[in-house]
Symmetry: C2
Subunit: 340 residues, 2 copies
Amino acid sequence: MTTKSGSAIVDRRTVVAGIFAAGVTAVGHGPAWAQADPLPSWNEGATKAAILDFVRRTTAPGGPDFVPASQRIATFDNDGTLWTEQPFYFQLAFALDQVKALAPKHPEWKTTMPFSAVMSGDMKAVMALGEQALVDIIEVTHAGMTTDEFAQTVIDWSHTARHPRFNRPYTDLVFQPMLELLAYLRQSGFKTFVVSGGGIEFMRPWMEQVYGIPPEQVVGSSGITQYTIQPDGTPVLVKEAKVEFVDDGPGKPVGINRFIGRKPIFAFGNSDGDRQMLEWTASGTGLRFMGLVHHTDAEREYAYDRNSSVGKLDKALDEATKKGWTVADMKRDWKEIFPS
Amino acid sequence: MTTKSGSAIVDRRTVVAGIFAAGVTAVGHGPAWAQADPLPSWNEGATKAAILDFVRRTTAPGGPDFVPASQRIATFDNDGTLWTEQPFYFQLAFALDQVKALAPKHPEWKTTMPFSAVMSGDMKAVMALGEQALVDIIEVTHAGMTTDEFAQTVIDWSHTARHPRFNRPYTDLVFQPMLELLAYLRQSGFKTFVVSGGGIEFMRPWMEQVYGIPPEQVVGSSGITQYTIQPDGTPVLVKEAKVEFVDDGPGKPVGINRFIGRKPIFAFGNSDGDRQMLEWTASGTGLRFMGLVHHTDAEREYAYDRNSSVGKLDKALDEATKKGWTVADMKRDWKEIFPS
């Protein structure tokens, strides 16, 4: 699949984002960093110094920048900030894999677009069908089942699917420096949240184990769910093919307000979709930290910014430069990319 | 105002609930109960024993009913469960007070229904106008301002308004036994949430201080908010007069799934609007606690159930009896009602 195909998907993302949903109990904890250097995978330099300085100042009791623990809210974008998002969003990879998995039950798909094209791997043909094709794909893979069934599907997929370039499970392609940052913030009394354009039900099943972030601290796009009593009397929530909320761009401050109810003092993103979240964070009083991951390492991961269809970083990069926000340059600042 | 008027309001609640919204930082902590009896305001008896037994069993390491701390999710309805809801929902009292406060800026209201009726205290006339009157009242009092402005209005109101019968601030009319229960659960490793049909932006400004429950653990009805950049460059969220989500009845499991992402093991309500939340809680595996507050004390608070318009308790009471859920009888089980 070419980047071009991926890009067509992304341009339409706000339309299809959100026909997702979960309710899960994968339990675990992020790595604990008790050693002297809480960020061993970050190279020494201005970026690492800015992070350490911010945390030290906001947590120093009696200091001028001290922030009470209850207000130490840190929000992170997911795609491209905590894990890789190339060659296209991993949730789309999941959806395409699900079409293939469901195909035996749908013999009619052999002759029905876009499913026949997905099955033969002809993404160009899928994309040529336009937006409706993606809506159809999301519909059959993200709706018409209970939230528990969907969560199980996501967990199963995360155990078996492999990234085409790295040949590793997608949940292995998380950024080691960011795992350290999450753990460091929590050790410093911060409450860490994910605020992502991705589907909330797609993220929650694995994030507690992988990031140490529990379901109730994951904010994302969502679809309508319907409370339904099954014939045996068991209540379930059935996922419907209707977008309820798109947590992207200006939707991020809205989602932060709705789910968290207070302004973060620390936020990290990587694309123009995170710009408003960073602006919102910056607009509060007192010391604030606004960060962007800049993907500059084609060798170890990917290099893209202003002209990328996936995770386009253009206006937010200009704003970061203008306002002195912290830009983490992947090639320069990160000693390691993925957990070894 | 008669109960009958209150009832008309309630019947239409699902229509008007939700044109609300917040983002606040009232900081504080619930009372800590280090003494031997964690529930001193509960009389000895089956109800208190059931609570203590549930907490002991779910927190005993190695025991057959042990639940890991991360899964100890407890959800509480607010109106009628954590504070009084008579003679009508306190949020409606707030809205009516706001109409009066805003009146000087709206001379035209003197001759415009329903505002003229509100100002002259003629609730019968307001109710006679039907649903649209309530929508109008909610619109002018809950929309057209920023979330920060609204939160400040709620805080100011909570400091000055007085309940007509008890002549105390509304936030004093919280149930002492429930404050103890919240603190006891938290001391036992539970994460406590409010899951209420009330407006999320109406509840968050004061709940951290009063209940020890931070904004991010308050789930409620909500209205649409719009991310807007003010002329001076400051971003704000503007509350619109459009309902986004009604967190009541079957909306409660939906809200729990959306905001919390996992099933509670403990839930407390007081009316038919909590029935689905209790059913949803009961449907999980392992030990579960489902509780109802039954208002049986006209002398110290109010006595109402099956025929009440506010907080009607009918089907849920039958289901509780049938399924052996715990019913806290206010008169019998509570030594104290309000904090002294």
